[in-house]
């Protein structure tokens, strides 16, 4: 029946990070951020599929998949939102996908069908690519 986890988002992230770091210390004698990229991806895959059980680690209110879902959506938000939120530095994500950012005015472009938009993005604070 919708979101009923008894945590607010910050608690979800802090709890998940703590549990996963603890698990990584046990399994690999390293914290998550110290693992090689391939190992990090393997851990994340397992968390996503609840193959690393948060319940087994003593956490009954939050599942690994729920933490992963929150983490992934926050990561996408940071990656694709305006740079003023701290991610998408230099609007690199927008440049990569061809999104003009905060230009927000296309009266002459809306009529031009199937023409790649030629201008780079701008941000809310006025950065230009």
């Amino acid at each position: 029946m919708g979101y009923q986890i008894p945590f607010h988002p910050q608690q979800i992230l802090q709890t998940g990070i703590r549990l996963i770091d603890g698990w990584c210390q046990q399994q690999h004698q390293k914290a998550f951020h110290q693992l090689a990229t391939a190992d990090q991806e393997a851990v994340l895959n397992q968390v996503q599929k609840n193959q690393i059980s948060f319940a087994d680690l003593g956490e009954s209110a939050l599942q690994g998949s729920q933490f992963f879902s929150e983490l992934l959506s926050n990561t996408k938000h940071g990656y694709l939102s305006d740079p003023m939120y701290g991610g998408n530095k230099g609007m690199k994500a927008w440049i990569a996908i061809g999104f003009p950012g905060a230009r927000a005015s296309y009266m002459e472009w809306v009529k031009q069908h199937n023409v790649p938009y030629p201008l780079g993005p701008i941000s809310i604070k006025g950065e230009q690519a």
Partner: protein, 589 residues
């Protein structure tokens, strides 16, 4: 702490969204002293001047101008055997708040239902053999004729600068519009918005398959417009930040652009923000209201006396206020006695997303209402009776937004990591949608009441919603899947993904559908089955009027705002013409 008594006014308006602002201006123009109380904050233009709204994260993701669950949560359960749980995070719907309400940030599709939609019970009785439709369906006719309501649709559409192609002008069918629409007394105020690439592709395919597409009727205005109140609305610049966003260009008809400037100039109108109405206070005989109690911005309890009370908060907030105030008898789904809470309905959507490697859709260059649709699949226009369900859908290719966080990716794209980044770079801007927006009928055991467990911060029970899909709507979804599939194949994309409700679907609270919740305090001819008469006047408390989506006895496929505007304007006119001269029930049951 003592209650602060305010000076009496002629009209207190609870909630300053579309319904509240229309009631306020119409009654203030008639010389009445009107005071509006708005739970949320003020929303002046400086708040949404460019570039502030060009921010997908704030508005699209974090619902910046919506109510928070802490302010407006309801509890939800599928059926009467379950315990309802609170909406701790918005999902399927997300109500607005603040001056302008949802009208500030809506998608601006401004469209009428058909005359058949408004007399659905009559149509059902005549077109369906007994026993075809499920026994627990409780659809009703709207209590007015097309001829009565049509001038008010026209009036609201002129207030909004509705932009589109006329289909039926006084009985004459015109090329380029909806041939199925009810006759209009006047053409659309403004021409249609520009078509985007998805529009033209959809139109070609739909026409080939025999359908009758026309541009989504739009309240993102296509040309500079001065409305009957003297407010000016600027031509849309297709900024791509529309649905869920306040308009950065003064181009979207909203209470702000269409009403508030004129309204705020009137000396006999005033409003207070962060004024949260708790209940309506009735006289001892319960036949009239004295005024409303609210908590002001400083936390004081205040009493606002008034001769007329208008409840124009959001649909389910209106129903909750009626229940908390004892206006009308609460609905009992077992005995079917009572009226407040009955006939709650929602809607469903779905469709396919089509991917084309060689097409640049430039989805960021778009207006909220951008799209083309057809109304061939609506009650009375196709053979629903032989298919065993009643209802229909707008079938459309719309492009309300082109922002990247919400972009679709083809099936098989990894959900994260390098593969996801590559997929996003390859496919952003290369997809279009074919969507359905369906009707939703009303049923005996789909209803609203007060929750027995959960309360708001003031100790009052939250509203409880008992809702799940019925077989009628699920059969409709499966039928529509076939139609959308045909159009998809006609367009021949590189790949596509589909989303339709299966026959065993439960209501998914986590995925956004639309905030077109309707019903719960419906208008009708019969006080045994409706809470309000045709003028939105409570059958029980004659100086209380409840304009909003709550008045619909079931949901048609057209977006609700045009009808909410029309019934509100009709109610305001009746108050001016009839009620003020002779306060009392305006309709004999």
């Amino acid at each position: 702490m003592a209650t602060v008594n305010k000076e009496e006014v002629d009209v207190v308006v609870v909630g300053l969204g579309w319904a509240g602002s229309l009631m306020s201006i119409e009654l203030a123009m008639a010389g009445l002293k009107v005071r509006a109380l708005e739970r949320g904050g003020d929303r002046g233009y400086e708040e949404f001047a460019y570039p502030k709204p060009a921010d997908e994260y704030a508005y699209g993701v974090r619902n910046k101008v919506m109510a928070t669950p802490a302010e407006a949560a309801v509890t939800v359960r599928y059926n009467m055997s379950q315990t309802a749980l609170p909406t701790r995070k918005w999902g399927a719907f997300a109500p607005g708040t603040g001056v302008g309400g949802s009208g500030l940030h809506w998608t601006a599709v401004l469209i009428r239902p058909t005359p058949t939609d408004l007399k659905l019970k009559t149509y059902a009785d005549q077109a369906y053999k007994p026993g075809i439709l499920q026994e627990d369906m409780r659809i009703m006719d709207f209590p007015f004729s097309w001829d009565e309501i049509e001038p008010y649709y026209t009036k609201f559409e002129h207030i909004c600068g509705q932009s589109g192609n006329t289909g039926n002008l006084r009985g004459q069918i015109l090329e380029g519009g909806d041939p199925f629409e009810g006759p209009r007394s006047e053409p659309y105020p403004l021409p249609a918005l520009e078509d985007t690439l998805n529009n033209t592709m959809f139109v070609k395919a739909a026409k080939k398959l025999g359908y009758h597409p026309f541009p989504n009727p739009s309240a993102c205005v296509s040309r500079a417009w001065t409305n009957p109140y003297g407010n000016q609305i600027a031509p849309c610049n297709y900024c791509g930040y529309c649905s869920k966003y306040p308009c950065l260009n003064y181009s979207k008809a909203s209470p702000q652009t269409a009403v508030m400037d004129a309204l705020k100039r009137m000396d006999n109108f005033s409003y207070e923000v962060h004024a949260n109405v708790m209940k309506v206070v009735l006289h001892d005989d319960k036949k009239t209201a004295k005024g409303v109690i609210y908590i002001d911005a400083q936390g004081n309890e205040c009493f606002q006396p008034a001769k007329i009370v208008v409840l124009s908060s959001f649909q389910f907030c209106n129903v909750r206020l009626m229940l908390l105030s004892g206006i009308g008898k609460p609905y009992n789904p077992v005995t079917e006695e009572g009226v407040v809470g009955r006939n709650y309905a929602f809607l469903s959507n779905g469709g396919s997303t089509l991917f084309f490697k060689d097409k640049n859709f430039n989805p960021f260059a778009t207006a909220g209402a951008t799209g083309q649709m057809f109304n061939d699949i609506s009650p009375g226009n196709f053979d629903g009776p032989s298919l065993g369900f009643i209802g229909g859908a707008k079938i459309h290719s719309s492009q309300a937004t082109g922002t990247p966080i919400s972009t679709a990716l083809p099936k098989g794209t990894p959900a994260w990591g390098t593969g996801w980044k590559e997929g996003l770079e390859e496919w952003y801007g290369h997809s279009m949608k074919i969507s359905i927006t369906t009707t939703c009928q009303s049923y005996r055991d789909i209803y609203l009441d007060l929750d027995p467990n959960y309360k708001d911060e003031y100790g009052y029970p939250l509203l409880r919603m008992t809702f799940d899909w019925k077989q009628n709507e699920l059969k409709l979804q499966q039928y529509l899947k076939g139609i959308v599939s045909n159009i998809t194949k006609e367009l021949n994309p590189d790949s596509y993904s589909e989303s339709f409700l299966p026959m065993d679907a439960h209501f998914d609270l986590t995925k956004y559908v639309s905030t077109h919740n309707v019903g719960g305090a419906v208008m009708g001819d019969n006080p045994r089955t409706s809470a309000l008469n045709k003028y939105l006047q409570s059958w029980d408390v004659h100086n209380v009027f409840v304009p909003g989506g709550n008045a619909f006895p079931q949901n048609f496929q057209a977006n609700p705002t045009d009808t909410i505007g029309a019934i509100t304007l009709m109610a305001a006119q009746a108050i001016k013409d009839i009620y003020l001269k002779n306060p009392g029930p305006m309709v004999q049951a």
